[in-house]
C-alpha cells in the first residue's frame, strides 16, 4: 500500500485518509508514559495551524523558521508549513547565536517556530529585521509578551475552519512540483552555512523509490535530529507507509529499544559503534562459558554467512574475478555453507538471539547513513543477524544516492545506485571520466574517482548563493566531493572524502576515518582525530573515556584523565597496537605520537549532530598540541 501524491501536503492528506486512526508518532511524557498522535489528528491539527499561519500573513512559498529538536510539535509545525504552501527552514535547538542570526536573516523568515522560551530570548537578542512573529512550541511553557503560542494558533485556526475558511485547500492546490518544501542549512565544516533548497519533487522522488518495505505494523525508533535530511526523509517515509515513529534520545536509548522493540532504526555510524561497544562489554563481563559460546557462535555465523554472501553474489568484488577462480571459490563456499549450516542454526538460535534482544529483538534492519560505517561494525551487526542497510547520500541529494537492499546487501559497500539516478566518477587529478567509460578496463569498474550524480533527488541549488551552487552543480550533476568506486557486483563503495584526505609531505594520501574507527573500538577512548596534513607522519588527538577508565578503576573527569600518567600509558599502548601492520594498516598510516585532550568534543562545537568531526575547528582549537607533536621533527 503506498500513496500517490505530487507533494508533501497532498501526501499528508492522503496518509490521514488511508491510515486514519493509526498512531503516526509517539513521544515520551515526563511520567514515562508514551503519547501517540494519530494520522488523522496530526493532519487536522496541521490544517488548523496552517490556517492560522495564512491568517498571520504567511504567503505561498514564504520561508518559515523552525528551530527545535525532535518533538511532536515539530511534525505539526512541518505539516502546517507544507499545508500552507510555505517552506520551512529547520535547525536544532543546539543552534549557535551566530547561526541564529545568519540563517534566519539569510532565509528572510517573517515567522519562526521556536522550541522554548530560552531560545526565544536568544532569537530576540539577534534583533532580526525580517522576523515579525515568533511561535513558541513547548506546550508546558507560557509565551512571553509579543510571542505567540502554538496551541493558541491551533485553536484559532480551528475556529476559522469552523467558519468555513478553506484557504489551506487553495494553497495545497497551488503547490508546484518545483516549489521548495524546505531549505536546510548545512552545518558545514568550514565557512558560512549554505541553504540547500529541496523541492517537493525532490522529496517525493525519494519516498516513492526507497527500496525498503515498511508497513503500518512497523515501529521506527528515532534518535537523529529530525531537521537533518536523513532522519527527516525517513520520518516522511514512515508517514508515507503508515508506520509509527517513536522519539527517543541517547540517554534513554537502552530502555527504549526494549520498550518500543523497533523494527527499523536509522542512525549514524557513531551510534552503531556505541551499541557494538556495549554488546562487547556485556560479553566480556559475562560468565566465561557464555563468552566462549559467543565467540564460537560468531565464528560459525561468520563462516556460514560469509559463504551465503558469496553464493548469492553479495561478496564485495573490487577486482573482477575470473570464472575459474569464482568456480573454485564457489565449490569451497558451498561445502563450507553445508558444513556450517547446522552449527549456525544451533548457535544462531541459542546465543546470537540473546544479543539481538539487546536491540529489542525485532529489528528487521538497521539503517546507517550520515557517515561511513567502519567495516568491522558493519560485519558485526550483519553476522549477529541484524542486517545493516547502509546508504550513502547528502543533504544536497535529499539524501539517498545509493542504498543497500536485503537482496543486494554487499558488505563494505553502500549498495546499488538509487533508481533513476545517474552516477559518474571522475579522476581526482586529471578530471577524466572513469565511470561509465567503455574505453576503461571493465567499463571503469574498480577504479577510484570523485562521485558526481544527477537525478530527481538533486537539489535546486544553494539559496541566494549562485557561486557556491555553480561550484557543485554542473549540467544537473552534483559534485559530492566524495571518492568512490563501482564494484564488480555493481555496488558503490565509498573510499573517502576528498576533503578529509590527509596528504602527507611525502605525497601519500591517507584516509583518516578508518584509522579513527579502529582507535574508537577501544572502550577507553571517546573521540579521536588523526592529524598530519603536510607533515612527515600522522599523529592523533585523543579524548579519553571517563566511563571506560572508571571500569578499570581510574576515575576522574576528562581533564584529570588527560594529566594522568596511567592513562597516558594505556592510551599509548592502544595507539601503538591498534594501527599496525598486523591490523592491516600501511607503514605511513601508523601514528607516531598522540596528545590527550583536556575536554571532550561537544556536538555543535567540535562535532556535527551526526558525530562527524569538524576537522578545521579542532585543528584550530588544539593547534598548540598539534604543533608540539611535530616540533621535534622539524
Amino acid at each position: 500500500m503506498s500513496l500517490k501524491a505530487k507533494n508533501l501536503a497532498e501526501m499528508y492528506e492522503q496518509a490521514a485518509i488511508v491510515y486514519g486512526d493509526r498512531a503516526a508518532f509517539a513521544t515520551k511524557q515526563k511520567d514515562k508514559t508514551w503519547k501517540p498522535i494519530t494520522y488523522k489528528e496530526l493532519y487536522q491539527t496541521g490544517v488548523d495551524l496552517a490556517t492560522s499561519l495564512i491568517h498571520l500573513g504567511v504567503k505561498q512559498r514564504d520561508h518559515v523558521g523552525l528551530i527545535a529538536d525532535n518533538r511532536v510539535e515539530w511534525i505539526i509545525a512541518d505539516y502546517a508549513c507544507q499545508l500552507s504552501g510555505s517552506t520551512d527552514v529547520p535547525r536544532g535547538a543546539d543552534i549557535t547565536d551566530d547561526e541564529i542570526k545568519y540563517i534566519l536573516d539569510h532565509c528572510g523568515a517573517k515567522v519562526a517556530f521556536i522550541e522554548n522560551v530560552a531560545l526565544v530570548e536568544r532569537v530576540k537578542k539577534a534583533k532580526l529585521k525580517s522576523l515579525t512573529h515568533m511561535i513558541l512550541m513547548d506546550p508546558h511553557e507560557k509565551a512571553p509578551k509579543g510571542v505567540l503560542h502554538i496551541n493558541d494558533l491551533i485553536k484559532d485556526g480551528e475556529k476559522l475552519r469552523e467558519k468555513g475558511d478553506r484557504k489551506v485547500e487553495e494553497r495545497v492546490a497551488g503547490i508546484q512540483p518545483d516549489d521548495l518544501f524546505t531549505i536546510i542549512y548545512t552545518s558545514g565544516t568550514t565557512g558560512a552555512p549554505k541553504g540547500v533548497m529541496l523541492s517537493h519533487e525532490n522529496v517525493i522522488s525519494q519516498l516513492s523509490r526507497i527500496p525498503i518495505e515498511i508497513n503500518p505494523l512497523d515501529r521506527i525508533l528515532s534518535i537523529l535530529p529530525v531537521w537533518h535530511i536523513f532522519e527527516r526523509v525517513f520520518e516522511m517515509f514512515a508517514i508515507y507507509n503508515g508506520s509509527c515513529t517513536y522519539y527517543t534520545n541517547v540517554r534513554a536509548l537502552g530502555d527504549d529499544l526494549k520498550n518500543v522493540r523497533p523494527t527499523f532504526m536509522g542512525s549514524a555510524p557513531r551510534l552503531w559503534e556505541n551499541i557494538h561497544a556495549k554488546i562487547l562489554a556485556n560479553v566480556e563481563k559475562a560468565h566465561p562459558v557464555r563468552r566462549a559460546l559467543f565467540h564460537i557462535s560468531y565464528f560459525c555465523s561468520r563462516m556460514f554467512q560469509g559463504s551465503t554472501y558469496f553464493l548469492t553474489f553479495r561478496k564485495l568484488d573490487l577486482e573482477g574475478r575470473n570464472i575459474l577462480v569464482s568456480l573454485g571459490m564457489g565449490i569451497f563456499h558451498l561445502l563450507r555453507w553445508v558444513f556450517f549450516l547446522p552449527w549456525y542454526g544451533l548457535f544462531n538460535a541459542s546465543v546470537l538471539e540473546r544479543l539481538r534482544l539487546a536491540a529489542g529483538g525485532d529489528l528487521k534492519a538497521s539503517i546507517s547513513g550520515g557517515g561511513a560505517l567502519p567495516p568491522h561494525i558493519d560485519e558485526f551487526f550483519n553476522y549477529i543477524g541484524i542486517p545493516v542497510l547502509e546508504g550513502y547520500g547528502m543533504t544536497e541529494t535529499s539524501p539517498v544516492i545509493a542504498c543497500r537492499t536485503f537482496s543486494r546487501l554487499v558488505l563494505s559497500s553502500v549498495g546499488p545506485i538509487f533508481p533513476d539516478t545517474e552516477l559518474r566518477l571522475f579522476d581526482i587529478n586529471s578530471g577524466e571520466l572513469i565511470y561509465p567509460n567503455p574505453n576503461k578496463p571493465n567499463g571503469g569498474k574498480g577504479i577510484k574517482g570523485e562521485i558526481h550524480v544527477r537525478g530527481p533527488q538533486v537539489m535546486r541549488g544553494y539559496y541566494k548563493n549562485p557561486e557556491a551552487t555553480k561550484k557543485v552543480l554542473k549540467d544537473g550533476f552534483m559534485n559530492t566531493g566524495d571518492i568512490g568506486m563501482i564494484t564488480f557486483n555493481d555496488c558503490l563503495k565509498i573510499m573517502g572524502r576528498s576533503k578529509d584526505t590527509i596528504v602527507l609531505s611525502s605525497g601519500e594520501n591517507v584516509e583518516p576515518v578508518p584509522i579513527e574507527g579502529k582507535l574508537l573500538d577501544s572502550p577507553l577512548i571517546d573521540h579521536v582525530m588523526v592529524v598530519g596534513q603536510d607533515e612527515k607522519f600522522l599523529t592523533v588527538l585523543v579524548v579519553p573515556s571517563v566511563d571506560g577508565f572508571k571500569e578499570i578503576g581510574i576515575t576522574g573527569n576528562v581533564e584529570e584523565l588527560s594529566k594522568n600518567q596511567e592513562v597516558e600509558k594505556k592510551i599509548s599502548q592502544i595507539v601503538k597496537s591498534a594501527v599496525s601492520a598486523e591490523t592491516g594498516f600501511k607503514s605511513f598510516e601508523r601514528l607516531q605520537d598522540f596528545r590527550l585532550l583536556p575536554k571532550t568534543f561537544e556536538v555543535g562545537d567540535e562535532i556535527t549532530n551526526l558525530f562527524k568531526l569538524k576537522r578545521h575547528v579542532i585543528t584550530e582549537k588544539y593547534k598548540k598540541q598539534i604543533a608540539d607533536m611535530y616540533r621535534s621533527s622539524k
Binding site: W34, N259, V260
Partner: protein, 360 residues
C-alpha cells in the same frame, strides 16, 4: 528362543549383537547419557520461576489445551501408529513410551523461533514434566494393555515372548526414575532463586552441552551400528518420523479448533510433537533393563526407536519451525505491535480505533 522369531529384523540383529557381547549403548555412552539427562533437567529447572507459573495459571486455557494435547493426543497417536503398522511389541511399547513422555526442553527454543509464545512453551514443558510422574505410567499401562480389533495388546504380545509368559510394565520403577529426574530440576530452580546470573549461565551451558552430547551420542551410536539402519524395517523408520509429525499436526488442529490464537497453536503444536528423547533412554535403561539377560535384551531392543526418534525430531522440528516462522510472520507482527502499543499507550489503546485524543 521364540523371542527372536516374533521380532522384526532390526530387533533380531540387536539380539545377535548382544549375544556377541556388543551392547547398543556401550559403557562409555551410558554414563554420558546419565550426565545428559542431569544437565538438561538442571538447565530446565534454571529457567523455571514460580512466578511465571502463577502468571501462566491465571490464563490457564493454553496450558489446559496443551496438557490435553500432550497427554491426550500424543500417546493415542503413538499407539495408533504402532497398531496401524503392526510394529513388533518391543518397538511398539518404545514408541508408546515416547508418546507418553513430557515435552523436551528444546521445544522452548523451537517455539520461540516459530514466533510462538515462549512463556506458554516453558510452562507447558515444566507442567508436563511434573505431571509425567503420574501420567506416563498410567498412559503406558493403558495403551500397552489396550487391545482393539481382536488383536492382542502389545504387553500381552511381549509377554508371550518372555520366559514367564508374562510382561508387566514396571510402573513403580518408572515413577521412581521420574522422581529422580526431578531432583536436578529442583536444583536448577534453587540456583535461579539464589543467583539469576549463574542460572542464566547454567541454562545456556545446559542447552549447549545437551545438544553437543546428544549429537555425540547419536553419531557414536549410529556409527557403531550403521548396519542397524539398513536392517530397520521402513515401517519402524516411518513410525519414528510420523509420531513427531502427527503430534505437530494434531496439536495445531486441536488448538485451532478450540479457538486459540495462532501463536499458541504453533507453540502447542511443537510442544506436542517434541518429546523428551533423553528421558526415554533413561527410563528404558533404568526400568526395562535389569539383571537378567532377557531384560537386558529387551532394553537394548527398546532403545532403537528412541534413537531414531531423537535423530529425526531435530530435523522435522527445524523444518516445521521454519515453516511456522514464515506463515506466522503477519500475525506475530500484529501481536507484537498491539502488545507494545498497549504497554506504551495504556491498556485501552487500540491501533486503528479511535485512541485517546492527543491534546497538543
Amino acid at each position: 528362543m521364540n523371542l527372536i522369531l516374533l521380532a522384526s529384523d532390526v530387533s533380531v540383529l540387536i539380539a545377535q549383537k548382544l549375544a556377541g557381547g556388543t551392547e547398543l549403548i556401550n559403557k562409555l555412552e551410558k554414563p554420558l547419557l546419565g550426565v545428559l539427562v542431569l544437565v538438561i533437567m538442571f538447565g530446565m529447572g534454571a529457567t523455571l520461576n514460580l512466578n511465571d507459573f502463577k502468571v501462566a495459571l491465571k490464563k490457564p486455557k493454553g496450558i489446559l489445551v496443551g496438557f490435553l494435547s500432550q497427554f491426550g493426543f500424543m500417546p493415542a497417536l503413538a499407539f495408533g501408529i504402532s497398531w496401524v503398522f503392526q510394529l513388533d511389541p518391543q518397538n511398539a511399547i518404545a514408541l508408546i513410551l515416547i508418546g507418553c513422555l513430557p515435552a523436551g526442553s528444546t521445544s522452548n527454543m523451537f517455539a520461540y523461533f516459530s514466533r510462538g509464545d515462549l512463556a506458554l512453551s516453558i510452562s507447558m514443558t515444566s507442567a508436563s514434566t511434573l505431571m509425567a510422574i503420574i501420567m506416563t505410567p498410567i498412559l503406558l499401562v493403558f495403551y500397552g494393555g489396550l487391545s482393539i480389533g481382536g488383536t492382542e495388546s502389545f504387553t500381552t504380545q511381549l509377554g508371550a515372548q518372555m520366559e514367564g509368559g508374562k510382561f508387566v510394565i514396571p510402573v513403580k520403577d518408572i515413577i521412581v526414575s521420574l522422581l529422580v529426574v526431578m531432583v536436578p530440576v529442583i536444583g536448577g530452580m534453587i540456583l535461579l532463586k539464589k543467583s539469576p546470573g549463574w542460572a542464566k549461565a547454567a541454562e545456556d551451558t545446559a542447552g549447549f552441552a545437551g545438544i553437543l552430547v546428544i549429537l555425540f551420542l547419536l553419531a557414536s551410536v549410529l556409527a557403531r551400528h550403521s548396519d542397524l539402519i539398513v536392517a530397520t524395517d521402513w515401517k519402524i523408520i516411518l513410525s519414528s518420523i510420523l509420531v513427531g509429525l502427527a503430534g505437530f499436526k494434531f496439536g495445531y488442529l486441536f488448538s485451532w479448533l478450540l479457538g486459540l490464537p495462532p501463536r499458541f497453536r504453533r507453540t502447542i503444536s511443537l510442544e506436542t510433537g517434541i518429546q523428551n528423547g533423553p528421558l526415554a533412554f533413561a527410563i528404558v535403561l533404568l526400568t526395562f533393563g535389569g539383571s537378567t539377560a532377557e531384560k537386558n535384551l529387551l532394553a537394548n531392543q527398546m532403545l532403537w526407536l528412541p534413537i531414531l526418534y531423537s535423530m529425526f525430531i531435530v530435523i522435522t522440528s527445524s523444518v516445521v519451525t521454519l515453516i511456522y516462522r514464515k506463515i506466522g510472520k503477519d500475525d506475530y507482527e500484529l501481536y507484537v505491535n498491539e502488545g507494545v502499543q498497549k504497554k506504551l499507550f495504556g491498556p485501552h489503546y487500540r491501533d486503528g480505533m479511535s485512541g485517546p485524543k492527543a491534546a497538543v
